[in-house]
Amino acid sequence: MHPALSVIFFTVVSGAGFGLYSLTAILQLFRLGPAMDRSELLSALITAFVLIIAGLISSTGHLANPKNAWRSVMRVKTSWLSREAVLAMVFFPFGLLYLLSVYLYGPHVPAFFGLMGVIGIVLGFMTVFATGMIYACLKTMRQWNTPLVPANYLLMGLTLGALFHLAIEAYFGADLQFITGVAGTALVMTGVMKGIYYYWIGKTSGPTINTATTFTRASVRLLDVGHTAGTFLTEEFGYHVPVGTLRVLKVVVFGLGFVLPLILISVAATAQTGAFALAIFAVLSSLVGKGVERWLFFAEARHVVNLYHGAQHT
């Protein structure tokens, strides 16, 4: 699959935003970890909204006909893309009401606004889940057609959210022990999950050129594709990355995405000074790692139409 940069930016950044919102609201509403004051909460929540909005705006970047983008909410009954768009929009009133209450009342939000915050958390998770399902529901790409994909999207969002949260806490000089534990656990779980995914897609299965052409009892080879230059199909689905590059990029995914942030935040948790700088580096490194992860997610997905262009199996 051809990786579209706007989609990569959107899924990583808005995923991080929803993760940051949910984590902050959970920690505050359920009184987990050290208490946060009004300015800490506000910084975390506003950062979350900025990330979510930036992501959503960039998601329209890959549309060939953006003037019809408003119609994307029309098929909630069948389309995960529609569901995602609707959930993301429904999230805003609840999330913003909660943000408003934090602005007005600080950490002691009244029960009604607390409820709004909880609904926001659920909608945030559902939105990220729907983003994952956009890919996971496609039978044409076996590398996407797995529950590992929505799980991956949820964990990635949560991990980035935790790192952002940690950076904000570090900025305010708060005690980082608890949030480091949360972020560290999230990093490890997400990393393991990604490892399982890479192992799983390494095995070939799925349709072959034989079922694609009905000739199941003979060998089938492509003689001629029938077109002289590239087509929409070859541009969109014919994307190919050399195996060597894939390996290098996977090292980057794990190195920058998981290992380095883990080291940085462990140091930050005990450091006397510079915790904020370390946390920022952890966020940036993780963002780069997850950007590469998302790029690979597209580049490694092999659409079955490639069978007709010479691939023997998917």
Binding site: K67, N68, S219, V225, F232
Partner: protein, 231 residues
């Protein structure tokens, strides 16, 4: 009604006439134009509803060239329709034809990801998704003669390798062909239940050559002279 095509892999000669006829008709049809990019450049490209690929099936000396036309299969369980967030892609209840409403499409490519058969192509000029309409504007045109109310590709095929009809009618030509010659679906394991079917090559008995008369002496000399002169 369940309208669709039957394609005979035995008689298709791979001439691409159906693709050209399709392009000609539909470029001025309901979803036209089918834009051409760099038509006079080094690498001309563009939108086509129908593409023909060529395969070698079996191993030498028992191999055969198979020409393989593919367009939208108007699937029964068409994921391209269910995934479309705008409702631009739809399957008509009355005849099962899958269409794209050009005024609603936002060009997100999602339906093309969902189609296993490469039947959908984004028109980069209009920013909308385009695909085979089964010549919806021909097959219902009452001003045309009965025989012309068929998709362009079917009418034009010089090898008569394409058939159009209603698969729900057991007496239709397409139903009969599928029954008699084991019409196959492509990638049935994905569960799209494509309406279009492909007829496998017939098993023919080889034409015997033992009784072909050997060339006379004069014939052999003539042949030798011809070769020598050509050199």
């Amino acid at each position: 009604m369940r309208l669709g095509l039957v394609i005979d892999l035995d008689t298709c000669v791979g001439c691409h006439a159906c693709a050209v006829a399709c392009k000609q008709w539909n470029t001025s049809g309901t979803t036209g134009p089918l834009t051409d990019y760099r038509p006079y450049g080094a690498d001309p490209s563009g939108v086509w509803f129908n593409r023909i690929r060529h395969y070698e099936v079996g191993d030498y000396p028992n191999s055969k060239t198979i020409n393989f036309p593919m367009s939208c299969m108007h699937c029964e369980d068409a994921d391209c329709v269910t995934v479309c967030p705008t409702g631009a892609s739809y399957k008509r209840k009355e005849d099962g034809v899958v269409l794209v409403d050009q005024t609603k499409c936002m060009g997100c490519n999602y339906c093309s990801w969902a189609c296993p058969y490469g039947a959908r192509e984004l028109d980069r000029e209009s920013g909308t998704m385009k695909k085979c309409t089964l010549c919806i504007d021909r097959i219902y045109d009452e001003t045309l003669a009965e025989i012309d109310r068929q998709p362009s590709c079917v009418i034009t095929c010089p090898a008569h390798a394409r058939f159009f009809g209603d698969f729900d009618d057991p007496d239709s030509e397409v139903s009969r062909l599928v029954r008699e010659r084991d019409g196959m679906q492509l990638m049935p394991e994905l569960g799209y239940n494509p309406t279009n079917r492909y007829l496998p090559p017939r098993i023919n008995t080889p034409i015997p050559t033992e009784d072909v008369r050997r060339d006379s002496l004069v014939g052999k000399v003539k042949e030798w002279v011809n070769k020598a002169v050509a050199r």
